[in-house]
Symmetry: C2
Subunit: 314 residues, 2 copies
Amino acid sequence: MAEISKDPLTGRAVIIAPERARRPKQFNASGTPAEACPFCPGNESATPPESWADRPANSQADRPGWSVRVVPNKYPAVSAATGVHEVIVESAAHIGNLAALDQLQFNKIFHAYRERLRTIGADGRWLYRMIFKNQGERAGATFEHAHGQLIALPFIPADVATEMSAAREFHRRESSCYYCATIERELQTKERVVTSDNAFIALCPAAPRFAFETWILPRSHASSFEAADDALVKEFAKITRQIIRALDRIEPNPPFNYFIQAPTIAAKDQASYHWQLRLLPQFSRAAGFEWGSGMHINPVAPEPAAQLLRDALI
Amino acid sequence: MAEISKDPLTGRAVIIAPERARRPKQFNASGTPAEACPFCPGNESATPPESWADRPANSQADRPGWSVRVVPNKYPAVSAATGVHEVIVESAAHIGNLAALDQLQFNKIFHAYRERLRTIGADGRWLYRMIFKNQGERAGATFEHAHGQLIALPFIPADVATEMSAAREFHRRESSCYYCATIERELQTKERVVTSDNAFIALCPAAPRFAFETWILPRSHASSFEAADDALVKEFAKITRQIIRALDRIEPNPPFNYFIQAPTIAAKDQASYHWQLRLLPQFSRAAGFEWGSGMHINPVAPEPAAQLLRDALI
């Protein structure tokens, strides 16, 4: 039974999840055979029954035919009483590197993210939802087959609440969304912008924790990814794929994490919180200094990182 | 040239250190030959000149004969203007696992830590010093040969300042040091205590970020490790070795980080800040969820972790 413990001094919460210790690890450089992969078509019975799938109307649940499949995590970080933990299988093919997927598949993946956030957000208990992805063993993935995850919790984690409150304070002071102001400033100097179009911008943040860290933000202010319409989801999938493919050309099969925060947005946060995806490549490891100080050491400044990513765009 | 960038919204600092990208990696499971290891005796010229060493009085600097050797980091995270970054080579023998070292060597290592903290603290510019250690590639070490590190910065990192201020507030409210109160409470219930003696206690904290996370604290209130006398340093080395050896019996050659914070203690913090070593075993990786939410998922609760460590004590 997972439970949440808080450090009495700092209030920092941790999730104690004994179930997680039972997870198998399925990583090997030479590839996992499809028959052993619980995420491959034909092995649907190796996971809990699907909660959602992108599949033909005449096909049967928990049978092959799907192109994206969502299932409860078999080794959840949270119990049913404390939250939700789902796995989003991102491809029927046994592919580990998202850069290998085509635009149509990216559209389906990001559509699935939004659908699950909408459904789970509709249950008013979960004030915090998050989509995240770990690609590659060095980024913490335990299965090779491409998959994202969704975790929902009944409270907003302290670090996220701190950022939301800083954004609220900025808005009160400057009468502007902090992220909108950042987008405008970055588009003027351009040195940290990787690419932009009418709908989105991809930029390397001024204080990146990781080498090649990149944030993707909608250019029109919006506080929630869940509210994005189908056309915007497609634009979002397009620019995210561009960035992942550029990173893949700099370092083939790159280990990375990305995440989209989806806290329940109170009225007071609607003008100041701006949804976004943060992509964190994992080329080196956090170690004693980072865990102790909370500060990261990053060998690549954001300006040369943005330049290299720009040069690698197709 | 390393520089420090702050996230404009949250104030979180990162160190941008292009020098670090040039670091060689010297890890291989079959062991590094001594001739290729810059930390082995005979290869002293492969490092910058030593800043301190435990060596016979009649021996020459930067020549063999030392038992602990401190050198400036060749690939520093900080430039000379922004801080200090030293490497403490913890053994003349090419050993990667601290559990293999005897008590006398542990005494020498912890004595070296204190000496360097005292010397670097005497330069009033560095308001924050930290000793940390990364053992094993999975814990972020880039060299196998046992070594600790010292980083000094001109400011106290936000996370450390937050904890100090929470401890100050606790003391104001409860007229007691938070850590002293925790020690007393844990000694009553005992379920999270690994071991204790007259001078120190080792306990698994109530909200551990990592499986088998263990904190070692002096039982008599003291705000600074630098002020510890020789006898206390030996007691500290003894209990730390006990814990590391117990961990090594649970998981041979365990990857871990440990750190000792050594901020400059203002008069207002002397009664409320309590120095300690935090040992963070690294059996799984932080991933997208942790980087996004700031919350950790830990598969081992502190009570069974303490029980297993107790059972593994010699």
